[in-house]
């Protein structure tokens, strides 16, 4: 990334942070809103516009909507974390449902790879959701802040491998016949893929599931590195399978939140529509945007939201 881009990213993040952090209006708005300081439609409209921008940034920054939604909305909006997590899961779920069918039909998302992984991740997401709802809010907020900062480090350091070298499939993946063939559209090349280190990969999905359910984050940020770097699935297969996988993992956790009462339609629908419209615009902007700059910006915003979640949890 060029120094000029980094500077622009830092200026943008600085201004964004300054606006939100310094302005007491944002913090007081929560109290005012709760006390009826705004018309009922004020926060849903703000939510729509913020999620619209989030949808654009998510596409351009190569992250899921859920991972942006929960820390930002819980940090800067008057909604309680319980409802933000419930809505965050539905936001991530809707994105996965929208993308899933196409990815499956194109044979980029692999059902054979997803089914065993999903069983572990969705079971653990239920456990995570139950833990998250049982713990005091400030503890969840602190853990959320720490996780978000961890995600930033992961985004900064994790490498990607388009076609990882998998010399030999392990015994478990061979027994489950987790392998496939796809055609790389850009080159026409036929790619024959298989995976290795499956037991370790599946073990990591225990942790991923728990975190997805506990924080309502979605889990694309963790799915892709495990599928791609650890298990050795090609990057395209990893990204597509991860996106599809969210439709199963988030479903299980979303039900726990829904049945607990953590879903308010006036939050869910503006968020869904905002993220969806933002994603449509984001896809169109992808041709002209500078992905590296956007990625830096997303990491900066996430880091800021992570610090905000930490400070909120610690009561500062």
């Amino acid at each position: 990334m060029r120094i000029k881009d980094k500077l622009w990213a830092m200026i943008f993040i600085g201004l964004f942070s300054l606006t939100v952090w310094v302005s007491p209006a944002f913090a007081e708005a929560s109290v005012e809103a709760a006390a009826g300081g705004h018309a009922w439609w004020f926060w849903p409209i703000v939510l729509f516009f913020v999620t619209f921008i989030m949808g654009i940034l998510a596409v351009l920054g190569g992250v899921g909507g859920g991972v942006l939604y929960v820390p930002i909305i819980s940090g800067f909006f008057p909604f309680h974390l319980d409802f933000v997590r419930g809505t965050g899961l539905l936001v991530a779920l809707s994105g996965a449902l929208a993308a899933g069918p196409g990815l499956l039909k194109m044979n980029l998302a692999s059902l054979r790879l997803a089914i065993p992984v999903a069983l572990i991740a969705s079971t653990c997401a239920i456990v995570g959701a139950m833990i998250g709802l049982a713990l005091p809010t400030n503890i969840v907020q602190i853990a959320l802040g720490a996780t978000i900062l961890g995600i930033c480090i992961l985004m900064l350091t994790a490498k990607k491998s388009t076609l990882p070298d998998v010399p030999k499939a392990d015994r478990l993946s061979s027994a489950l016949r987790i392998c496939g063939v796809y055609q790389e559209a850009s080159t026409g090349e036929i790619i024959d893929w298989k995976v290795h280190r499956t037991p370790l990969g599946l073990a990591l999905f225990v942790l991923i599931g728990v975190m997805a359910g506990m924080f309502g984050l979605g889990a694309g940020w963790a799915n892709v590195p495990v599928l791609n770097l650890l298990m050795g699935a090609p990057l395209k297969i990893s990204v597509a399978t991860s996106k599809f996988l969210l439709s199963i993992t988030d479903t299980s956790a979303a039900w726990i939140y829904m049945n607990k009462g953590c879903v308010i339609p006036m939050m869910v629908v503006p968020s869904l529509v905002g993220i969806m419209f933002g994603s449509f615009v984001g896809v169109r902007l992808l041709k002209i945007a500078k992905p590296t700059f956007i990625r830096w910006m997303v990491i900066g915003i996430l880091a800021f939201a992570g610090i905000k979640a930490l400070s909120k949890g610690l009561g500062f």
Partner: protein
């Protein structure tokens, strides 16, 4: 050789079936959600919680929200679908539940192909998602 490659590139029948159900469920869920939200937001159906009061509730934690709004958790919303806010749960539930239908649909194909391990995993997934959806896994602060 060319024919064999083309065969390998084909998406499996259970994957196609899963994708088709997922797609239909997603479109139907979103359509219902947008229609019901329109009925709610434009005041065509009266909400249980008046729109001008909603902002008083969303800053509570979920237990206080349920207590103050006198709402029962779980599937109790089914008895409240006459209200503009609760009718939205039809679309939301469909979006959250479509995956269960997808799994149920592919089990016969997996069994027919003698893919017993995957059929068992799919059955287990249906049980797990069904348990989550049923509301039997209740928790609280």
């Amino acid at each position: 050789m060319e024919e064999k490659t083309q065969d390998l590139l084909k998406t499996s029948p259970e994957q196609i079936l899963y994708a088709k159900i997922l797609e239909k469920g997603m479109y139907l869920g979103l359509l219902i959600l947008f229609i019901t939200f329109g009925l709610y937001a434009f005041g065509i159906l009266d909400p249980y919680i008046p729109l001008n009061k909603i902002s008083e509730y969303w800053s509570y934690n979920v237990n206080d929200y349920l207590h103050h709004a006198e709402i029962k958790a779980g599937w109790a919303w089914l008895g409240m679908v006459k209200y503009g806010d609760f009718i939205n749960f039809i679309g939301i539930s469909l979006l959250a539940g479509v995956t269960i239908f997808c799994y149920v649909a592919i089990i016969p194909t997996l069994l027919k192909n003698k893919d017993i391990v995957y059929a068992i995993i799919a059955i287990l997934e249906v049980i797990i998602l069904g348990a989550a959806a049923s509301g039997i896994l209740a928790v609280g602060h």
